[in-house]
């Protein structure tokens, strides 16, 4: 095991170009059950933690940029971010507990590619983009087009996620709902992030598909202003957009039905606000 510990992004991108080293940010995913992950002991690592230029929260006229090392706790304790993007704080506070929030990063959450990633769902609903760099170029990809499939994403072996950009927009309604098996320290069994402004609704679903994803059919149904008589009226659209499965944490039937209920009541409550 070789560990590269660059202090600048440029050095890190050279390592990325020259070595098959796993990028490590806060370590909260990679280190789980570490003593038993013996294959991972035989790999090389690119430790990003010492690259201070990736540790920033920067505002510009039209975007908020979170450096790749921005943690959940950084956002929870940033009142300005909380005021502008309340769902980021809502989601961050429901990820693990403070010990995880202190190390876990938004960019790491994106790179891990879990279909249950709470951080990804709120970033996606806010229309965030992923800023990606390699030794010779920079590019930016909308988060909602970043994933191809389960843990498959638009990131080449020589690239790194260096920042996340979130457009400055105002919303009339914003809601993040996470259904976990307990109130803290839980992984989402089903979740939704919802925003609306004058031009329509955006809905992002968690834990009901191979990736976090937008739900265009649901969005269209709500945006059309169609009256919902009961949660079940959402089921056809849910079935069109997502494909929940049975796993250790829950069942497909539960996920589908609960998705309809959390969406129905959230939309109803927001519409009366």
């Amino acid at each position: 095991m070789t560990v590269f510990m660059p202090t600048t992004l440029a050095e890190a991108l050279e390592v990325r170009r020259d070595h098959d080293a796993i990028p490590m940010a806060g370590g909260t995913d990679l280190l789980v059950h570490w003593p038993e992950q013996l294959k991972l002991h035989d790999r090389d690592y690119l430790d990003l933690w010492g690259i201070d230029e990736l540790r920033h929260i920067e505002w510009s006229d039209d975007t908020l940029e979170l450096g790749a090392l921005t943690t959940y706790w950084d956002v929870i304790t940033d009142a300005k971010v909380g005021a502008a993007y309340p769902l980021l704080v809502d989601a961050a506070r429901q990820i693990g507990a403070v010990q995880i929030q202190a190390r876990g990063t938004w960019a790491g959450n994106i790179a891990n590619g879990s279909p249950a990633a709470d951080g990804v769902s709120v970033l996606m609903v806010y229309g965030a983009s992923v800023v990606i760099a390699s030794h010779d170029k920079h590019r930016q990809v909308p988060l909602e087009r970043f994933y191809y499939g389960y843990k498959e994403m638009d990131l080449a072996p020589d690239e790194l996620i260096v920042a996340i950009r979130i457009p400055n927009r105002t919303y009339r309604h914003e809601r993040f709902i996470k259904v976990g098996s307990r109130r803290a320290q839980a992984i989402a069994k089903v979740g939704a992030a919802i925003v609306s402004n004058g031009s329509g609704w955006r809905v992002v679903a968690s834990s009901v598909a191979p990736t976090i994803r937008r739900c265009p059919t649901i969005e269209a149904q709500i945006s059309d202003g169609e009256l919902l008589g009961s949660p079940d009226d959402l089921l056809p659209a849910i079935r069109a957009d997502v494909s929940p499965i049975d796993d250790l944490r829950s069942t497909a039937a539960y996920r589908e039905r609960v998705m309809s209920r959390i969406l129905y009541y959230a939309i109803k409550e927001m519409s009366y606000q």
Binding site: H33, V179, S181, L248
Partner: protein, 729 residues
Amino acid sequence: MDRIEGLAKLTGAERYVDDLPLDGTLWGMTVRSPVPRGRITGVHFGSGVDWNEFVVVDHHDIPGDNTVLLIETDQPLLAGDYVRHVEEPVALIAHRSREMVRRAIREIEVTVDPDPPIFDFTAEPTDDQIQHGSDNALKRIDVIKGDVDAALAGAAHVVEGEYRTGSQEHVYLENQGMIAWEEDGVLMIKGSLQCPFYVLKAAVRALARESDRVRIVQAPTGGGFGGKEEYPSMIALHAALLALKAEQPVRIIYDRGEDMRATTKRHPSLVRHRTGVDSDGRLVAQDIDVALDGGAYVTLSPVVLSRGVIHAAGPYACANVRIRGRAMLTNSPPHGAFRGFGAPQTHFANERHMDVVAATIGIDPDEFRRRNLIVDGQTTATGQTITDGTDRVALLDHALELSSYRERQSEHQALNASHPYLRRGIGMAAFHHGAGFTGSGEVMLASELELAGLADGRIEVLSANIEMGQGTLTVFTKLVCDRLGLAPEQVVIADADTGRVPDSGPTVASRTTMVVGRLVERACDDLRRQLGLDDSDSGDRVTRAIIDWHIEHNKPLVGHAKYKPPPGIEWDEATYTGDAYATYGWATYVAEVEVDLRTYTARVTDFVAVQDVGTVLHETLARGQIQGGVVQAIGWALTEECAWNNGVMQNNQLTNYIIPTSDDVPPIRVSFVENPFAHGPRGAKGLGELPMDGPAPAIANAVARAIDADPHEIPLTPEHLMDLLSNGR
């Protein structure tokens, strides 16, 4: 008095087994069966590892009988030619590098010619699934009182119900662990355990060593809850086999995944009730069938079944009771001791059923209980006459009052009628728990305890009872201080080391404070008697006398006490009749829940626990036991579910096996009704297990009220609640 070892724990200074120095020790690990049942055809060691670097042990290395001695001898220490559950130990390896052991263990393959396993303890086994006796029953126990069939035939109402509970993992925060080494010809075994003499007896049998050539020493133990009652014998002997072969100290420390996959859990249960009630709402017949899943070996299932069966009819007076119990073999890892020991399962069924019966016959559940709770002079299912002076109806009413039961009910009605998706309910459970070993168990244990008066006048308590968080050290210290008028600094508690202490019995069954604590008091009296002091002599007079005695005799003065049953206790093991326990704790718990119909999630929003556990010796410790037990039971009731697949626990991680966090539970409101027990120390009764019994039925009853449905099974996970609401099951 603060907890004796509290500061050491709060500053990280307490040394648990995995905290002991590493010098010269090897790390041991266990090779386990990959399949639930079959004949072992080979243990293959991969070619990529230099096995000469490793110490390797299999059943051939066992000097004595290949068994983990407990009630029976059917469980092998290392499977020889046959395995009966996944994760069953087959071989052991050790190396000085922990990572090397972890790498090497993956290169060992156990091949097995499979036989058909059985996992459903409620199903009739097919011929080729029978592995114990003629029908896989590890134990059957019947309790018969009166004439149930006649009473049912004449009853105004007969109500039936069927109730299930799942297995539960202990989740002691410190995983299992042991170190073994040889010292001057004596085999030393030190680790996390509840019962040093169980380990000693098992070691003598399997290692074919005299008991004076083995010493078992308890290390500070990070939680047990029964999970470190019987399984530590297995790990201790594994470490010993490796250490004897390596001629070096060996430590085996399970990680959480191995601990959850391989060690014991609470017995799953299926309990059926058929209950006859007269037109006044009084119980006339209780016909109860109790089935437990024992797992692959006998282990403690007979005694878990015994306690479950004895508590199955609840704290009620009924002239006609028939309880038929059986513990069945399955090819799951053996289920074992867990706080409550069978009683939480049967209390869940009985208290849930009481609400079902009350609703069926149209009486309020509190009133139905009031009419049937045992009053002094009446008898339990085993015919034990209760005469302890506790007013169980008043206790119930106290719990209802503290929980504002009636006011909450009307608030809930209003909310439930108007809220789009929130539903609230309040429910209760009345129950009891026998303290100490069942029946003649304490007489057979014949526990002994010693107090030594040291040269400096301090008193050392020598007992086999251990501290695992429940407060033994503090309670014993306090009892000596109170009895002899001493300060806490003047009392020391010896390590539970079988080479030094007498066998005061295992630290289980809510017996330590009540039974062994009484021995502490009597040993104090014995010291005073030997010193020629009066009962009124205390404090400095006692200390001075001990010092003087030491000067005169040049050795410590030893005070003794040996268990004596309270007078008048009679138990007939053959007919399962008589005084099942010397005394009982009595309780009524009330739970308030909120169910969210968007997510089908039930949450406990308020909890009141009222109990009579005799005199409360230490308010903070006693309250902590109740609160901790209640929260452990809230987990069992709502979220804790072992996901089994072919006898393998799939969710053997704390991410996927869901115990409550601080944010999941409300403050637990505790109230004690103190009715002293004449034969307990200063009037104390056992209390450790009691709080595990009541919460699950109280919560299920509250959920039933909230959503107007009848849950018959726990845990009430959201997925189960969704099924219940959509399909009525």
